[in-house]
Symmetry: C2
Subunit: 344 residues, 2 copies
DNA sequence: CTGAAAGCGCTTACAG
DNA sequence: CTGAAAGCGCTTACAG
């Protein structure tokens, strides 16, 4: 039976109120009394029952983190960033791994986090208007990362611009047939990033007078396997691409494998650029558009703490973090001669 | 102001006790009463305050997962496995990211999870005798994964045997100078896996009459960078290795990069085998010793649920999961001629 | 500076 | 089948 606050009180010869005050460092406790309480607590190995504290205080000192698929590199990094600042501030972190379209709907319908957390960080999960309304009713502070919603603080990157720059990089190398590895255009989960990145890709092509070929826009599911399959698909085109913009490094790495298995040299025959700067990227020499993933989580954590402590006076903060092109060795100038020597 | 149980009670015209019983599906509630309560609860969008329930019930319905470094692939997979079975059983999952030797000591001294979780899953974190004693005092059910401790249920793999088989694979290809990418022998965190895998490696060498060269045993920190640096170090040896056994795929992938940057062909000049079967492994063609990471987490979750529900009669379960050699394209027979043709 | 008491929102014997 | 009441272990006005 672990010690309770009254055990400590009798051991120290004071009331439970005094124990509570002394242990939490509140003022108006005589130093000698405090010492006695501290000693008694140590002796009894006392720790306050958080459930009782929370019930009495009316807050949980817990933050919920809602992620679509927490095993993916991007999410783990982001969670780690937020976790660091939240635990440093004395908060517990509760994980909500919400996968699939139905999981998401169920989650937002039942909102199991109500009365359980003081606030939530929603990573990348798009929200329908009625879901936003319900969140507002629930009166739980929300911070989003990866998407921007009116009324909720957010941290994002400029996906349109970043994708445009990635595409420009390929165009600058002389490529004209550039495939896009993205999500399904009618993705039921309605993630925001693929939409914006496609937009940036298409804008870049158009601004250079290049044709936007739907046949070169293939869904890759943001995974290794998806990227591999998408690449295979793109290679089937009559006039195949000489370069690829993959909207995630995972897809890019999958694509590289497919290309090499098909006998294509990367970057000689095919240039590939990714997105994220996954920790593996430098080990496969992947050229990519880097985003500050951990920082995104950290900023989200900080924004949420602000909501919790400061009164949310004034306007809702939206932080946009910078991206950066990292050129490594999977992109190169387009070959002058496209056909193999012997095929003429 | 969210609805409380008494709001529901007055709405339904019954006592709070009846509401509590009806909502939790307890017997001895008239069907008509139950319906009325359910309706009232739905109308008011009622959800029970978990802190109050927990305080009254004396259990938290929360499981703590303690991981040394949760951004590493192995840990995320393992956590995901456990998380799935735990949330399916109605438990919340609280993350304890305990990094570094000091973080671990602090964590086990203060045991912040006491009174906060019903049980914990400890992944890979070695425990000192006094820490084990304290955990026993804390009376929190513990399940360990990756290490086996008397008295706690556990799920492990046979690291000695698996590492032996990995090494045998290289020996079978004719290699005699085989480097080991491992941890520091005097790793302050005292992780178990490196110790066992080194043991398996050395046994395999000895059983084939091969020399165990300390110069070929280099610390790689289980990371990409660590593996890359360790490889560079091993290549400096007077009589350099023709093969490498890396105790993690991350180290193996880092090592491949170093080797290729140094102008060595993998596997022609240097064979490399990893450990884990990281999702990237097949995309870099890495030969590796596969372990069922997600299953390890799932089994750990199941074992913990057993502890929580069934009385722990009889002996403590220790589950050992199988590993499997996966041969891909980073290992090959040792070259007959070691020196480049022109160097004779 | 300290204590007695109410209250946080539930659950659970106990009685009927 | 249902309700009144005690209790879970804290915190926080309120009084002194």
């Amino acid at each position: 039976m672990p010690a309770s606050i009254s055990d400590v009180a009798s051991e120290a010869g004071v009331s439970v109120a005094t124990v509570s005050r002394a242990l939490r460092g509140l003022p108006n406790v005589a130093p000698s009394t405090r010492d006695r309480v501290l000693l008694a607590a140590r002796d009894l190995d006392y720790i306050a029952d958080p459930n009782a504290s929370r019930l009495a205080e009316g807050r949980t000192k817990t933050i919920g983190m809602v992620v679509p698929l927490f095993t993916q590199w991007f999410f783990t990094q982001c969670v780690a960033g937020a976790e660091a600042v939240l635990t440093a501030a004395g908060y517990d972190v509760l994980l909500y791994n919400v996968s699939g379209a139905d999981g998401r709907v169920r989650f937002l319908e039942s909102m199991p986090f109500r009365k359980r957390v003081d606030g939530i960080i929603v990573i990348d999960l798009p929200l329908a208007v009625e879901e936003i309304a319900r969140l507002n009713e629930a009166a739980v502070p929300v911070v989003t990362v990866g998407l921007r919603i009116e009324g909720f603080p957010s941290v994002t990157i400029d996906n349109v611009t970043a994708a445009g720059q990635a595409t420009e990089h390929l165009i600058g190398l002389g490529h004209e047939r550039i495939a896009l590895l993205s999500n399904l255009p009618d993705d039921p989960l309605k993630f925001r990033a693929p939409v914006d990145r496609r937009e940036g890709y298409q804008r870049a092509l158009r601004s250079h007078g290049l044709h936007v070929d739907p046949l070169l826009d293939v869904p890759g599911n943001f995974s290794l396997e998806g990227g591999a399959e998408a690449m295979a698909h793109a290679l089937l085109a009559e006039d195949p691409p000489t370069a690829v913009f993959a909207e995630s490094d995972e897809m890019a790495i999958g694509a590289i494998k497919t290309a090499r298995d098909a006998g294509l040299a990367v970057p000689e025959d095919l240039s590939i650029i990714g997105f994220d700067d996954h920790e593996m990227a430098r080990y496969v020499g992947l050229t990519t558009m880097s985003q500050p993933v951990v920082a995104e989580g950290e900023v989200a954590g900080t924004l949420l703490l602000e909501q919790l402590t400061d009164p949310p006076q004034g306007k809702v903060p939206h932080v946009e973090l910078p991206t950066e092109l990292v050129v490594r060795s999977t992109t190169a100038p387009r070959r002058a001669v496209l056909k193999p020597v012997g095929s003429a």
